[in-house]
């Protein structure tokens, strides 16, 4: 089972390196959206410090949604997904592998980029660290929940817009806890509760999401 998982992750990463534009587009989108907010409001440092965490988080959510359709649709179109589902390997491992690869290509770059964007919003070093760690814990949940949406909309009409309607409401708890962590860190409060709840979300999503994705994919294929 682990071999299947590792194999799928390596294969998807290889595909991603061959189509670098797909990965880069989402990262650039993230950076552009974040940079637009100071232009839309004011360059006032006090205000930017307050809205910064929320803006970065919302941009991460949108960027994640943007990358979701490519999670299964390319493999679905050329028939690879059908072959994977027909194979003897456990479908849960295949799905988990694809989700991990999605996080590595769509989530991790945002985590790495976030300290730079935090500078734009004049965040203190403590808040910057909190932002990066909250994204590090939160983006896997986004990939896990998003995969459910991506699997459900596979082959549906207008899948791109639909997936955002399905997935964004389900992202609310992650958004609340993620920004809550940064705000609490900025205010000098104890953040261990946020860390624990975000970790709890990863754990429960790891258990439930692959099952839901597998069920949805079996229905779609």
């Amino acid at each position: 089972m682990m071999t299947v998982l590792v194999c799928i992750v390596r294969r998807d990463l290889l595909v991603a390196t061959r189509r670098r534009a797909d990965v880069l587009t989402a990262v650039v989108f993230f950076a552009v959206v974040v940079s637009l907010f100071p232009l839309a409001t004011t360059p006032d440092a006090e205000l930017l410090r307050n809205i910064g965490p929320g803006v970065v988080w919302v941009a991460a959510l949108l960027s994640s949604v943007l990358t979701l359709p490519r999670l299964f649709s390319v493999d679905h179109t050329d028939g690879t997904l059908d072959q994977m589902l027909l194979s003897a390997s456990p479908i849960g491992a295949i799905v988990s592998g694809k989700i991990i690869a999605h996080w590595l290509t769509a989530g991790l770059p945002l985590v790495v980029l976030s300290p730079v964007l935090a500078l734009q919003f004049d965040l203190a070093p403590g808040a910057m660290l909190a932002l990066t760690s909250s994204l590090f814990l939160g983006t896997p949940v986004l990939s896990l929940i998003g995969a459910i949406g991506a699997a459900l909309t596979l082959g549906a009409r207008g899948a791109g817009v639909l997936v955002s309607l399905l997935v964004l409401p389900l992202y609310v708890p992650v958004l609340v806890l993620g920004t809550g962590l940064v705000n609490a860190a900025g205010a000098g409060l104890d953040t261990s509760a946020h860390f624990m709840l975000l970790t709890a979300m990863i754990v429960s999503a790891c258990v439930l999401a692959p099952w839901a994705v597998s069920t949805a994919l079996r229905g779609a294929a």
Binding site: L152, T153, L162, L165, L166, P169, A216
Partner: protein, 254 residues
């Protein structure tokens, strides 16, 4: 109960899992509930608007409670029932379950919208704002989005069995998420500011207020059953269009 009796009781309930047998039952239910619902709602609203005493703190504005609270209860209750049918469809794979879930969704969305709208109308005179980012309001808004997502997903997949299945997975995912959303939002709100209005500290309710609210709630509940049955009947006719009994039924109607 003996095994034979149990088997009989089970078969008599599961008999209605088939669209053919459920179709006439849904017709009877929709007529019965469709007559009772307006009566109960009218009596409940009469008690609410003319019999119930004026609230000491909120004046007459509180009277929207007789629509607002039943609608809010129904919005959540219908989602649970919808997710139940969706889960039943996933587990025992009856055709009717998916249709039931689909038939309930628009009514649930309607009650959610009514709850939000009347809440805004109530909030303006009492809190001085159409909208506050209270945990309940925010969760109710997200509930509305979940209903929209369910209906949009179902509408975008042409094959009805596949659409049922996909929408069912979404409904169950939403059900798991609703408590998490509620508590996260509640926590988020209390982290930033104290709740501006506390529902729990409200003065205990007069008996006539409670009666009115309950009558409207039961009325809304019967309305939901009636309208869902009407919708299920249409769905059955649409999907079973090729079967002989539908053809016979339609000939009899025309």
């Amino acid at each position: 109960m003996s095994d034979a009796k149990l088997l009989h009781a089970r078969s008599s309930v599961f008999r209605y899992a088939s669209p053919v047998t459920f179709f006439p039952l849904a017709g009877k239910l929709s007529r019965l509930c469709g007559v009772c619902a307006p009566l109960l709602i009218c009596v409940g609203l009469y008690i609410g608007f003319f019999v119930a005493p004026t609230d000491a703190q909120q004046g007459e504005a509180y009277r929207i409670i007789f629509i607002h609270v039943p609608a809010a209860w129904m919005s959540m209750f219908i989602y649970v029932v919808m997710a139940f049918w969706a889960a039943a469809g996933l587990v025992i794979r009856t055709r009717l379950s998916g249709m039931m879930a689909l038939a309930l969704a628009p009514t649930g969305a309607l009650f959610t919208f009514i709850a939000l709208w009347t809440g805004a109308l109530w909030g303006k005179p009492t809190w001085g704002a159409w909208w506050v980012w209270d945990a309940r309001l925010t969760s109710e808004l997200i509930l509305l989005f979940l209903y929209f997502g369910f209906m949009a997903l179902h509408a975008s997949i042409d094959d009805s069995r596949r659409a049922d299945k996909a929408a069912a997975i979404l409904a169950v995912t939403g059900l798991v998420n609703i408590p998490i959303i509620y508590f996260s939002v509640k926590w988020w709100n209390t982290l930033h500011q104290g709740a501006s209005v506390s529902f729990t500290n409200a003065p205990t309710m007069a008996a006539s207020m409670f009666t009115g609210m309950m009558l409207v709630t039961v009325g809304f509940w019967l309305y939901s059953i009636a309208i869902a049955c009407v919708r299920v009947r249409s769905l059955i006719l649409e999907r079973e269009g090729s079967s002989p009994w539908v053809a016979a039924y339609l000939r009899k109607q025309s």
